[in-house]
């Protein structure tokens, strides 16, 4: 894991234009909240490990353009150039995928979550192992609190997707089902 990360950082450094600040220094504030090795230990803050680069790029773009609102991220992305966005999203994709959650899965909730995931065919766009593809994010092993928060935001349309697929998908998922769905997805790896 460390080797991969170091290699990724080295690669990222090579591709960056000469800058007073190294890429490592620039990425440090990201990793401080999102986790050093792809796994976030911060409440409501997503793990970035193994995330799809095109998805990460879209999110960073949306933060910069204030199409997705979250003040700390809007602030961080404000001055990033297009190339910066690409460099950071490519870097994010090289982080090791999130660690297996330490809390034990609740059997009943897992069963309900699996049924919901099947019924809504989450695996069509997010892949059978929920690793995501292209502009569709990895959700396997994502933090449960972040998943629940995000699904709720899609449901009440307070988070606008790049396109509107998730707003549509969440129409028939009831509020009280979101917890089980999040629990199930957080325990995929």
């Amino acid at each position: 894991m460390y080797k991969t990360l170091t290699a990724a950082l080295a690669l990222a450094l090579l591709t960056l234009p000469a800058s007073a600040e190294t890429f490592q220094e620039r990425a440090a504030p990201c990793l401080a909240c999102h986790g050093e090795r792809g796994t976030s230990e911060t409440e409501n803050t997503p793990s970035l490990g193994g995330q799809q680069a095109p998805y990460a790029l879209i999110q960073l773009f949306m933060f910069r353009e204030k199409l997705r609102l979250f003040e700390p991220m809007n602030e961080m992305a404000k001055s990033l150039t297009d190339d910066d966005l690409r460099t950071f999203s490519d870097f994010i994709a090289t982080l090791p995928k999130p660690a297996v959650p330490t809390d034990a899965a609740d059997t009943a909730r897992m069963a309900r979550g699996a049924a919901l995931a099947n019924q809504n065919r989450c695996n069509t766009c997010h892949n059978p192992d929920y690793s995501g593809k292209e502009n569709v994010p990895r959700i396997a092993g994502q933090r449960e609190d972040y998943l629940a928060k995000t699904l709720a935001e899609y449901k009440d349309n307070s988070r606008h997707g790049y396109d509107a697929t998730m707003a549509d998908v969440m129409q028939t998922v009831a509020k009280d089902q979101i917890g089980d769905l999040a629990h199930y997805l957080a325990h995929q790896h």
């Binding site: 095109p54 790029l57 879209i58 773009f61 949306m62 353009e65 204030k66 199409l67 297009d82 966005l85 690409r86 899965a105 059997t107 009943a108 897992m110 069963a111 309900r112 699996a114 049924a115 919901l116 995931a117 099947n118 019924q119 809504n120 065919r121 989450c122 695996n123 069509t124 766009c125 059978p128 292209e134 502009n135 569709v136 606008h160 790049y162 396109d163 509107a164 697929t165 707003a167 549509d168 998908v169 969440m170 129409q171 028939t172 199930y184 995929q188």
Partner: protein, 421 residues
């Protein structure tokens, strides 16, 4: 374009039944596999509804464009092909998700967007183009139209205007809302708008999903006065039109309409329709392409009760922006022909569309031929660009927008006068 799909209950039930036997999610769990979930329809806007359960179909999903516009030197210009005698050049670039086009009487070109929040203006000063953002913070501002100094902008669920736009390009006021009695559905909610020869503003409301029954507020084209008053329904049975224009000779409205997803690889084809009288019904979601009764919703219906299309535009090709050519720069055979931008399919294993075609009409206004005009946007079954709208400039050249690259191209005929960048 991204067409969201919708619900076929029969297929849905089949899907739920099928998935109970697949390994996907449940089998990965140590827990006892759950009982089949209670029958609960997928949301009408879900692109998954109606999807048959097979491997090839499972690979298909709406295609999202890159968020960042391509740099001018990274545009696929060298790959784009036009007929002999025509030239293509970059008109302007750097406009994320460039979509619908409109032009002011002073020559300013306005460009809407769908996945970002901006409307752009391209100005031309002695051949030098510059791009300004004239409105931002809008919600899916796909539609733009211009009349008597005023720019009209259509967001997902409202239409607004900026008066004397050419005088305020450097410091435009916020658009003033003129009409907002529109549904808020995301699926097919973005809008193309245009102003007709009757000086009315035409505003479509798509069906809120791939193949759905809906209320009387959807699946139509409305028209209204330019101040938003007097709105009335002009055409119904319209699934999702993202481009229309009026025949310069007959003044009849022609519009493209996108057919439903998931029926098959080869049908239904997108439609080119003609409105001969107000209130006409074009069939969706009961009858597609004039002769296919929908396998789920069409029971008890008959295609002969709906106006058939005058032309078919290919399966899933996403025929979007279209305009009649009235200029004199292009050869005579193009006079009063229709240029149609086909955004390109997602719901098809081998991509189709992703080009501009020219539709030539018979004297009676029916379609004589559909021929390729601008091609080269698909490479190895992947998009290198996606055309959205076409618009004739005053000099008779043709603009084409590309939301994949955030650019607008210009097609001219004859000895090329290279426009300075």
């Amino acid at each position: 374009m991204i067409d969201t799909s919708f619900a076929s209950r029969r297929l849905l039930l089949a899907g739920v039944f099928f998935s109970a036997f697949t390994l996907c999610a449940a089998a990965q769990q140590p827990a006892t596999p759950p009982a089949a979930p209670a029958a609960q329809p997928l949301p009408p806007g879900s692109p998954m509804i109606g999807r048959p359960d097979n491997e090839a179909a499972a690979k298909l999903a709406p295609v999202a464009p890159p968020p960042i516009p391509a740099a001018a030197d990274k545009l696929p210009l060298a790959k784009l092909k036009v007929p002999a005698g025509f030239n293509i050049e970059v008109y302007a670039s750097g406009m994320a998700n460039a979509r619908s086009l409109a032009q002011s009487d002073k020559g300013t070109v306005f460009v809407g967007s769908r996945l970002v929040d901006k409307v752009y203006a391209i100005t031309d000063k002695d051949g030098r183009k510059s791009v300004k953002v004239i409105a931002s913070g809008l919600y899916r501002p796909n539609g733009v139209a211009f009349k008597d100094g005023t720019l009209y902008i259509a967001e997902l669920s409202k239409v607004s205007k900026i008066e004397k736009i050419d005088d305020v390009l450097d410091n435009p006021p916020k658009p003033t809302v003129i009409y907002d009695k529109l549904p808020k559905d995301e699926a097919h909610g973005w809008k193309f708008i245009a102003i007709g020869p009757d000086d009315k503003l035409y505003v479509p409301v798509g069906q809120p999903g791939n193949n759905v029954l809906h209320d009387a507020d959807h699946g139509q084209i409305r028209r209204m006065n330019l101040d938003g008053t007097g709105a009335e329904v002009y055409a119904v049975g319209v699934r999702n039109t993202v481009g229309f224009d009026w025949n310069p000779e007959t003044k009849q409205l022609y519009f493209t309409d996108n057919g439903r997803d998931w029926l098959s690889e080869t049908v239904p084809e997108d439609e080119l329709n003609r409105v001969t009288k107000a209130g006409e019904d074009f069939g969706a979601p009961f009858c597609y392409q004039g002769n296919i009764i929908d396998q789920e919703l069409g029971w008890g219906k008959d295609c002969k009760n709906y106006t058939p299309p005058v032309g078919l535009m290919g399966p899933h090709t996403a025929a979007l922006g279209m305009r009649f050519y009235t200029g004199s720069m292009f050869p005579k055979q193009y006079k009063n022909a229709i240029f149609v931008a086909r955004h390109g399919s997602w719901n098809k294993s081998q991509k189709q569309g992703g080009d501009v075609v020219v539709v030539k009409l018979n004297k009676d206004g029916t379609v004589k031929s559909v021929e390729p005009f601008l091609t080269g946007f698909i490479e190895d079954n992947k998009y290198v660009g996606r055309p959205v709208d076409v618009m004739q400039l005053k000099d008779g050249s043709l603009l084409v927008s590309d939301d994949w690259n955030g650019a607008v191209y210009r097609i001219s005929y004859g000895k090329q006068k290279v426009a300075a960048k």
